[in-house]
């Protein structure tokens, strides 16, 4: 099997479920036979602040932090948060972005402007070979719970990666609390079909 390294950054807002999504992504990498590592920061950065996880798959992974300019996939859980990371992308890498805004405090107070979608799109396209917008929160709401938007995004991302559908579903079953397994599987499949 091709064990070419793959680096991911998952960026979002505290409480959006980036940690669960990065756990699933890691387990999938391990199941596919990669060495895997991930890194994220807890603490002050929660409470509605910006959060990011680095996930790395490779033959042998040393650093848990991915290197700027070498990341293969940027997964944006929120538009503004995605916009902070294009410089980390490999030239020609892929951005998968939730079309969803959470205005930060300065925007709520009318002191700053939330960038337009086309501005963010062009910023990302400056490095990415492909910018893929997914209405993940909207799709998650249709399933009855906005909290599974991250797993919708993973479903979309999975179409660009190796691993059978069954393998991903199996990992979700092992990783997610029992009472949410069905919902998360639905969310994953919805995202996968969007691909």
């Amino acid at each position: 099997m091709d064990k070419k390294k793959k680096d991911f950054i998952l960026a979002g807002v505290g409480g959006q479920g980036t940690i669960l999504a990065s756990d699933i992504l890691m387990e999938v990498g391990l199941a596919l036979g990669y060495d895997v590592k991930k890194s994220e920061v807890h603490g002050m950065s929660q409470r509605g602040g910006a959060v990011e996880s680095h996930v790395r798959w490779g033959e042998r992974v040393f650093s848990p932090l991915a290197e700027k300019g070498r990341v293969d996939y940027l997964v944006g859980f929120e538009m503004l948060e995605a916009a902070r990371w294009p410089s980390y992308l490999l030239k020609g890498g892929t951005a998968v972005v939730n079309r969803y805004r959470i205005p930060p405090p300065a925007v709520n107070l009318g002191q700053a402007r939330y960038p337009e979608e086309r501005e963010i799109d062009s910023l990302l396209a400056g490095r990415a070979g492909r910018v893929w917008w997914v209405p993940a929160t909207e799709m998650a709401q249709e399933l009855g719970n906005a909290a599974v938007a991250g797993v919708v995004l993973l479903g979309a991302l999975s179409t660009l990666l190796e691993g059978e559908e069954a393998l991903w579903l199996d990992v979700i079953e092992r990783t997610v609390p029992a009472k949410f397994v069905a919902l998360n599987k639905q969310a994953f499949l919805a995202g996968r079909r969007a691909g």
């Binding site: 807002v13 505290g14 756990d23 890691m26 387990e27 391990l30 060495d35 895997v36 590592k37 991930k38 890194s39 994220e40 920061v41 807890h42 603490g43 002050m44 950065s45 929660q46 409470r47 509605g48 602040g49 910006a50 992974v61 040393f62 650093s63 848990p64 932090l65 991915a66 290197e67 700027k68 300019g69 503004l80 948060e81 916009a83 902070r84 030239k91 205005p103 930060p104 405090p105 300065a106 925007v107 709520n108 107070l109 009318g110 700053a112 402007r113 939330y114 960038p115 501005e119 963010i120 062009s122 910023l123 400056g126 490095r127 906005a146």
Partner: protein, 586 residues
């Protein structure tokens, strides 16, 4: 043997369990908190949240004296609090193994300061191990305990945020059976006052023992497999440990490496041998030139801090840039984006919608009081638009600072604020001090019934222990009255009029006083209350409610709106709206 993905903290907990640790004590602190949270879930172990790090370390020392392997965990600044105990424990030694997990935070992800606690190892003459990934974290706990028992010393295990909170594969045997032999049951405490009573006469006799121990540890450092040479290109020899080793491995894939697992004391002969094998020695270490200076003293020509920064967190990108500037690697291609940069608004952390702390800071701001603060979620009260905290240095500082300001002669109305967990950690001595030295400070305890900042741990006020047992709820009001405080009031921070009135009364009185603002943390209780509604016809868009700094409140073109998904229905905006435009549906 299967592989299981674990964070560094989870792996330490598992390693401690496997190594037969029976007693664990900690005070929460990012990034160390999950060590004890996870350890507490293993069968047959005792684990506690102590009220502060010093108490935790004393508990660990006691257990080790009594012949039980023990683990203590804290963040870097926690070791400042526990330092006194660290130093005596170095003299007395242990009986069974004692490992102290110390989590440094380069880059200050969640700390008030950056400090390199490797210095404590040298300062207290205690060995320190530093794992570089989760699997090493698991293994090193056991090794640390063996060193502890062989050399009769506490052992420090250092992590950094990128180890503690990074996940990697760990060898997991599935069987929840400690690999270390069970200790005799119950343990016998062997009385040994000459070794454990640090009167000057005894301590003087222990002093050379500490130095001899360090000599022996130096010999051990030469032999142990914790330190290893990884041969490579003889042109460049890298010496590194911990997370920095991993970054360096990415940036210098072909170089020769001396990977240190024991970072104090250092293996002198091994280092000299390594230096002879390579043309150039470079030390890659975050924070202080701790290894570099010692290696230079060995007579080795070494580079380090002339290439890499003295502060802040490393990353592969940063190392590559610095190494390129020093001519060690080829520089990465510069690809400047020619377009004008897009300005992105920042997204700082904020008090949650419905957080009880908000009401107190709103009132303090209205009253224009000088607020000396402390560390917890409530430190976010310092951020705009509330901006109602004026000092915050370390846990437990606020009350003493306020008292000092008073004694300097400042006349302004003042309050000191601190959380319930902070109160039990280090708030009681300065509260006594105000009383004893006839001060007039008003202290407000923001009693949200939990240690929220670090992820909602129990504390002596919550009535529950780390392992889930029910226990006495320490009563802060009764405690203050017992100390001698005459004026003690309890308020609900959701009731702004009541809070305003009580704070005014306390500020007007000349006596020292205490206000307990009691409202459970809404995030820890997962409470969700319905949102009020803004009547767009009445709202004049004055922005008064926005002064609360509550994220659901958004200024639109014509009026303010409330995001019902985020709002927690605390009703503060209903109370502050001057036109009565915000109301709960009847």
């Amino acid at each position: 043997m299967v592989k299981k993905l674990m964070s560094g903290n989870e792996a330490i907990a598992y390693g401690a369990y496997q190594a037969g640790v029976k007693v664990g004590a900690a005070y929460p602190g990012t990034p160390s908190t999950e060590v004890m949270e996870n350890f507490a879930t293993y069968p047959g172990v005792y684990a506690e949240w102590s009220p502060n790090e010093k108490v935790a370390l004393d508990v660990g020392v006691g257990a080790a004296y009594a012949g039980r392997r023990a683990m203590v965990a804290m963040k870097h600044v926690g070791l400042n609090v526990a330092a006194d105990s660290l130093f005596y424990a170095s003299y007395t030694g242990v009986n069974a193994g004692l490992v102290i997990i110390n989590a440094d935070d380069p880059g200050l992800h969640s700390s008030q300061g950056e400090q390199d606690n490797r210095n404590y190892a040298r300062f207290a003459r205690i060995p320190m191990v530093e794992p570089a990934d989760s699997e090493e974290a698991r293994q090193y706990v056991g090794v640390a305990l063996e060193i502890s028992e062989t050399f009769d010393t506490p052992v420090l295990l250092r992590t950094v945020t990128r180890l503690a909170h990074s996940k990697g594969a760990v060898e997991f045997d599935g069987e929840l059976q400690p690999v270390a032999p069970p200790a005799p049951d119950p343990p016998a405490y062997r009385r040994d006052p000459a070794k454990q009573v640090m009167l000057p006469a005894n301590a003087r006799r222990r002093r050379p023992v500490v130095e001899e121990r360090l000599q022996k540890l130096g010999e051990y450092a030469e032999q142990t497999t914790l330190n290893r040479i990884e041969p490579g290109d003889p042109e460049l020899g890298i010496i590194a440990a911990g997370a920095a080793y991993q970054y360096a491995r990415e940036v210098f894939p072909g170089a020769s490496f001396l990977k240190l697992g024991l970072v104090y004391p250092l293996p002198r002969r091994l280092i000299l041998d390594f230096a002879r094998r390579v043309k150039q020695v470079v030390v890659v270490e975050e924070l202080d030139p701790f290894l570099e200076e010692q290696i230079r003293l060995m007579g080795v020509t070494v580079r380090g801090k002339d290439i890499f920064p003295l502060y802040g967190e490393f990353s592969p990108h940063l190392l590559r840039q610095c190494a390129a500037a020093a001519g060690l690697v080829t520089p990465p291609p510069e690809e400047e984006d020619p377009r004008p940069p897009l300005v992105l608004p920042v997204r700082p952390p904020m008090l949650c919608p419905g957080c009880g702390h908000r009401g107190i800071f709103y009132v303090l701001k209205q009253l224009n009081v000088l607020v000396t603060g402390d560390i917890g979620c409530y430190t976010l009260g310092a951020a705009p638009p509330l901006g109602a905290m004026h000092t915050c240095g370390c846990m437990g500082a606020g009350i003493g600072v306020s008292h000092g300001i008073e004694k300097a002669g400042v006349q302004e109305p003042r309050v000191a604020v601190l959380g319930d967990s902070t109160f039990f950690h280090s708030g009681m001595p300065p509260l006594v001090n105000v009383l004893y030295n006839r001060g007039a400070t008003t202290t407000i305890v923001l009693d949200n019934r939990v240690t929220a900042m670090t992820g909602h741990q129990d504390d002596p006020g919550t009535g529950r222990t780390l392992q889930g047992g029910e226990t006495t709820e320490v009563d802060i009001a009764a405690l203050a009255r017992g100390m001698g405080y005459q004026r003690v009031d309890v308020v609900d921070p959701y009731e702004l009029d009541q809070v305003t009135q009580v704070v005014r009364e306390h500020l007007q009185s000349a006596e020292p006083s205490l206000i307990i603002a009691r409202r459970p943390c809404v995030l820890s209780r997962r409470e969700k209350h319905p949102a009020p509604v803004v009547d767009a016809d009445i709202c004049v868009n004055c922005g008064t409610c926005l002064e609360l700094g509550c994220s659901p409140l958004t200024q639109e073109e014509e009026h303010v709106s409330i995001n019902v998904l985020l709002c927690n229905g605390c009703g503060l905006c209903v109370q502050v709206c001057p036109t009565g435009a915000i109301a709960f549906n009847a």
